[in-house]
Subunit: 131 residues, 2 copies
Amino acid sequence: MNISDAADRSGLPAKTIRYYEDIGLVRPARSENGYRDFGETELHKLVFLGRARALGFTIEDCRALLALYEDDDRASGDVKRIAEGHLDQINQKIADLEAMRATLSHLVACCHGDDRPDCPILEGLGGPAQA
Amino acid sequence: MNISDAADRSGLPAKTIRYYEDIGLVRPARSENGYRDFGETELHKLVFLGRARALGFTIEDCRALLALYEDDDRASGDVKRIAEGHLDQINQKIADLEAMRATLSHLVACCHGDDRPDCPILEGLGGPAQA
DNA sequence: CCTTGACCTTCCAGTGACTGGAAGCCTTAT
DNA sequence: ATAAGGCTTCCAGTCACTGGAAGGTCAAGG
């Protein structure tokens, strides 16, 4: 299967698939003409990578997860540890974003947003530190 | 004031301050020896930038906000529009992360996490599409 | 006066995970 | 024979810094 079919079936852009080969995540065979030739196994890995990336795992996490996926003697504890670490990071990011949202939505709510210069948002950013 | 004092008083790393000058966000004076010399106005802008960045505004948003901050004839509506746009993006990011968290925490909860290879997390990533 | 150490300067390269584009080869259909 | 489309590689750019090298400046101590 050529790269554009692999792209269609995995949902990843062809550019991304080439990049994943560059960094050693997949190793498609090559046809005589030099084109990449994806078998079911490599396609399967692309799907796996697409799902893991969609869950926000880093490429290095994906590399580790893929190695575990292909290792019949893996310990599920290793997988779970990676996933829990990532879950902690997601929770941290959500907490950070919620703190931003709280501050910013308060400022936005206080701003009348018309053509006058008076603006609590700018005051919050530039004024003296607030409690 | 030299850059390290500006860094201490603004909370930004000196490297970041130099970068902000590079991209034209601040324009500190120069002493005869070539050192940057920050007055209160430039320091104030650094504090403003630090707060805006902490709220997740992009550098280009910061540039626009700073211009409005320095414009006595601004319309607060312009500020509010930028802030609301950013708030939308924050909300979108939170929603994305919460979706990831829901999927991932479910998978993690299903994984016994011991030394056996059986692993619902990997099955979720590599298996057939789920409803 | 000299040295030491802490500053400061500029410039270059790297981060993560792609993405866009150029230049050129291959295939398929007309 | 040619035109369109797909494939290849390689280089550069994204965002907002961050690290490090090479070298100039300054204040204190001997």
